[in-house]
């Protein structure tokens, strides 16, 4: 099961990178010209030919791609067209910041969505539930960057409690993490609520009550555990939007992460950077999916045992 998923994902990365590679070659906006323009050198045919040779652009496409793949495997992702630094260096520089923000956002997500989801399910159709559901509804309608702006406005500008941008102290960490967490929360709250309500109505929960197990214990050890599974699945599926959210928030708060980097790369048409980014992110996503699958197996023993024949 994992094997086929892995291979599927890897194929996808390479197909995507190859297509990127291909399209790069056939679209307008010649990279050679843009390099020359950046270097503020006048564009002449000889200079063009020279650079083409330098960058190996005059060789057959497949050969170029092949060379590129070999480089990739050795962790050489080429050089940024704009800054001339190695792409891998640029990305690695920024990776920790993005990971930190991701962790922060996920923590906030946890801290918000689990209590709200639980409260919502326990007090179904009473006022805590309504508040929770309206929060989820509005939260799902609000653009994350605007939310960040609002928070920034109040907490940085007006109240001056927290710094507005950049990375440095823990205080810098707070607003971006919160924004990310709140942006992601609504869908998990809704999901958790639905799932928990269904579980709490199941016969085995009633049986646990009949055995005399305390309601608190039932909630935390029996019900909650069962409802984690769809949450994890959801998480695996929403890695893409996590990435999008990260980028947007990084730009907003001038957080020096990969999102900021890649957007710059796109606006500047820095192809090696874009390609390198796709590969790295693709790889990270494969890794995360693997972790999610493993986690899934741990939590759901039925998968583990493959629903064995009866003892």
């Amino acid at each position: 099961m994992i094997g086929s998923r892995l291979s599927q994902l890897f194929i996808m990365i390479f197909v995507l990178s190859f297509l990127t590679f291909l399209l790069m070659k056939i679209t307008p906006g010649d990279p050679i010209r843009s390099i020359l323009k950046v270097d503020d050198v006048s564009v002449t045919t000889e200079k063009e030919e020279q650079l083409k040779k330098e960058y190996g652009f005059d060789e057959p496409i497949l050969k170029q791609y092949g060379e590129w793949i070999i480089n990739v495997v050795q962790f050489d992702l080429g050089e940024s067209l704009i800054s001339k630094k190695p792409v891998s260096e640029l990305i690695l520089e920024r990776l920790p910041a993005t990971l930190a923000l991701a962790m922060g956002g996920l923590t906030v997500l946890f801290l918000i969505s689990i209590p709200l989801g639980v409260v919502s399910a326990l007090y179904e159709n009473r006022w805590p539930d309504y508040i929770s559901r309206w929060f989820a509804l509005v939260g799902a309608s609000i653009p994350s960057f605007w939310l960040g702006l609002l928070l920034m406005y109040f907490f940085s500008l007006k109240l001056q409690w927290l710094p507005m941008m950049g990375r440095g102290t823990f205080a810098h960490f707070v607003l971006p993490s919160f924004t990310l967490g709140i942006a992601m929360a609504p869908i998990y709250i809704t999901l958790l609520r639905e799932r928990l309500i269904t579980i709490l109505e199941s016969p085995y929960i009633e049986a646990a009550k009949a055995r005399g197990i305390s309601k608190r214990r039932i909630l935390f050890f029996h019900a909650l555990r069962g409802s984690l599974i769809p949450l994890i699945t959801m998480f695996g599926l929403s890695l893409g939007s996590l990435l999008g959210g990260l980028s947007v928030i990084e730009i907003l708060f001038s957080w020096p992460g990969m999102g900021e980097l890649i957007v710059q790369g796109v606006t500047q048409r820095d192809y090696p950077l874009i390609q390198g980014f796709i590969i790295v992110i693709g790889f990270l996503i494969v890794l995360t999916n693997l972790l999610v699958d493993l986690l899934y197996m741990v939590i759901n023993p039925q998968v583990q045992q493959g629903k064995e024949a009866r003892v």
């Binding site: 199941s202 016969p203 085995y204 929960i205 009633e206 049986a207 646990a208 009550k209 009949a210 055995r211 005399g212 197990i213 305390s214 309601k215 214990r217 050890f221 029996h222 555990r225 069962g226 939590i299 759901n300 023993p301 039925q302 045992q305 629903k307 064995e308 009866r310 003892v311």
Partner: protein
């Protein structure tokens, strides 16, 4: 001397939409007795059980009295009522798939149950669990480390019975526990119940639609139909001197039991 354990008096239950679920139920259960509650699905027997267990949905209108020893269960608030569950009033359910939480190992759930009632350590609880499993003739080590979905229906029921053995409740409610099992396994399960009764002296409220089982094992039988008790008596009385037409229908399905002289003809295939 007979000592009243459970006394249900004039219990009536209506739903919010005025649908009558139970009408004037009267039922007596003494210490150590096995009382059978027979009826088809929808006759109200499970609802009666749920009322005793305090697991009724909250939007029901309940009148009457349900005395457990000398406590009126209906007058208790939910948490006090729930405190009785497990240690005083034990339950075994029909849906064996729904008796234990599917993704937690059986042993862990047994230990959890035991420790919810006795303040003993994990080790001792484990010992006790293994012990009762052995008593019910199950392979204790294997069962202890299995998940509920890895066990057969009969095994799950017997684990639940084992817990009853460990907790020693005074009243054991068995709600259609053999319905989903084949005859042989069902017999094994019922024998295990007998064993628990002998060892702990508990009373059993045995809910079933199978008259044969009731006849064989119960001290007293109540017959329910449409939320009412239509007949009650000792097994012989029910068998031979029944008055109500419904009881007649039920009995007509009984094949003659071994050791009997007179044969009962069964009129038409009336499935219960």
């Amino acid at each position: 001397m007979k000592e009243s354990l459970l006394s249900i008096q004039n219990l009536s239950i209506k739903t919010k939409d005025d649908q009558i679920l139970l009408k004037e139920i009267n039922l007596e259960l003494n210490r150590g007795e096995m009382v059978a509650l027979i009826g088809e699905s929808g006759s109200g027997k499970s609802i009666t059980a749920r009322t005793v267990q305090g697991l009724l949905a909250s939007n029901m209108m309940v009148i009457g009295h349900v005395f457990y020893q000398d406590m009126n269960l209906l007058a208790l608030d939910k948490s006090n009522h729930h405190q009785l569950l497990g240690s005083e009033i034990g339950s075994i359910f029909q849906d064996y798939r729904g008796s234990f939480t599917p993704y937690i190992k059986v042993g862990k759930q047994m230990v959890e149950t035991i420790r919810s009632h006795y303040s003993i350590g994990k080790k001792e609880a484990r010992e006790l669990s293994l012990h009762v499993l052995e008593e019910i003739h199950l392979d204790s080590k294997q069962i202890f480390h299995s998940y509920p979905f890895q066990l057969s229906g009969g095994q799950v029921q017997r684990v639940a019975i084992g817990l009853a053995l460990a907790l020693r409740p005074k009243l054991l409610i068995c709600d259609e526990i053999t319905t989903a099992l084949d005859v042989m396994t069902g017999e094994a399960v019922l024998n295990a119940i007998e064993k628990v009764r002998k060892e702990t002296g508990c009373a059993v409220l045995f809910i079933t639609h199978d008259l044969v089982q009731a006849y064989k094992r119960a001290d007293h039988i109540y017959v329910m139909q449409n939320g009412r008790i239509v007949e009650e008596g000792s097994p012989e009385q029910i068998r031979c001197e029944h008055q109500h037409p419904y009881t007649k229908k039920l009995c007509s399905c009984l094949l003659s039991l071994p050791g009997e002289n007179h044969l009962q003809t069964y009129q038409g295939a009336q499935s219960i």
